[in-house]
């Protein structure tokens, strides 16, 4: 999937990989790549300003933690972040269902007319 298409969903992707617990920047990058099977073309450096922005909006909180011998800033979902993630998921399901019912009318007979 091209970088331009991914960019609009970056917030949801970052919130989703942090759902299981706090992660630092590089661990977030590897989690996104692992979950997508490497299919997403993403300039991984762009996640850092996105993480800063999500923290400013109150969707993430961050703190310094040890990662091996190094100290890294770790990000964690806030309650508002969990609520936003739930909203992103619902919006995505609605979007894919609507597009899918047009592209593959046979697969959703109840919706195709």
């Amino acid at each position: 999937m091209k970088a331009d298409a991914v960019r609009g969903h970056l917030d949801g992707l970052l919130l989703a990989v942090l759902e299981q617990g706090p992660l630092h920047g590089y661990a977030i990058i590897t989690a996104v790549q692992r979950r997508s099977g490497g299919a997403l073309e993403l300039r991984t450096g762009t996640i850092y300003p996105a993480l800063n922005r999500l923290e400013r909006l109150g969707l993430l909180s961050s703190s310094w933690q040890s990662a091996g011998e190094r100290r890294r800033r770790c990000y964690e979902l806030t309650d508002a972040g969990r609520a936003t993630l739930a909203g992103e998921r619902a919006a995505w399901d609605e979007f894919t269902a609507a597009i899918g019912s047009v592209l593959n009318p046979g697969a959703r007979p109840g919706l195709a007319t």
């Binding site: 609009g8 920047g25 300003p49 922005r53 400013r56 909006l57 109150g58």
Partner: protein
């Protein structure tokens, strides 16, 4: 110096030269990018690539400095706008204090010189109220409120000029209070207020200037809120 260190140092130096914003926010963002880049290069080196190739692969995956700058600068511009808005919020009580003293000084001076401090007092009160309101709106609009209502792209420029205006009002207050102190009987209080106004101007002016600079830099709007 290892090839990884050399490449990362060049990358971070180029990124640092291209970005503008509050020192603390900029240093944090660049530090996180540097750490992430080092972790990525180390992972490639652990996977068996030579150091130079590992570093090059990490930089390619991260994106060039030119590709990272727009999103980083947008965040730093918002950080600078919030920094200036906080400075304006802190300066507003000083402006109101100066308004009160300038108004009081008007009664203490001869009739022919009393008009200037009183006129200044009205302007200071207006500037303080307008700038503080705009600063509060900026802090709210770029904080948690931005989850529901995207902040206007021109807000940083607006707060930059509010800061510049408040800074100019502080300079005018310094001049007026110093002049009034020379003519009034209660000069120590007026001189003290003038010194506070000068200090507030010195604190606010650089932040407002930096905000004007950041707000003029090209940065694309973000597709989502904030």
């Amino acid at each position: 110096m290892s090839p990884i260190d050399r490449l990362l140092q060049e990358y971070v130096a180029d990124l640092g030269a291209a970005l503008h914003g509050p020192a603390k926010a900029k240093s944090r963002l660049i530090g996180e990018v540097r750490d992430g880049l080092a972790d990525t290069a180390a992972a490639y080196a652990d996977a068996g690539l030579g150091e130079e190739e590992a570093a090059r692969r990490a930089v390619r995956e991260f994106g060039s400095v030119g590709e990272l700058v727009p999103s980083c600068q947008r965040e730093l511009t918002v950080a600078q706008a919030r920094h200036t808005a906080r400075a304006v919020t802190l300066a507003a009580p000083f402006l109101i204090g100066c308004w009160y003293l300038a108004r009081s000084a008007g009664h203490d001076l001869a009739w022919d010189v009393s008009r200037a401090p009183q006129l200044l007092a009205v302007h200071l009160a207006f500037v303080a109220t307008a700038a503080a309101l705009l600063a509060a709106v900026t802090l709210a609009a770029t904080g948690s409120l931005a989850r529901r209502l995207p902040a206007p792209n021109r807000l940083p420029l607006l707060v930059a000029w509010a800061g510049t205006t408040a800074s100019g009002a502080m300079a005018a207050a310094t001049l007026a209070l110093t002049t009034a102190a020379a003519l009034a009987t209660n000069w120590p209080l007026l001189a003290f207020a003038g010194a506070l106004a000068a200090a507030s101007h010195a604190a606010l002016a650089p932040s407002a200037r930096a905000c004007r600079h950041c707000a003029r830099l090209p940065a694309p709007p973000h597709p989502v809120a904030g």
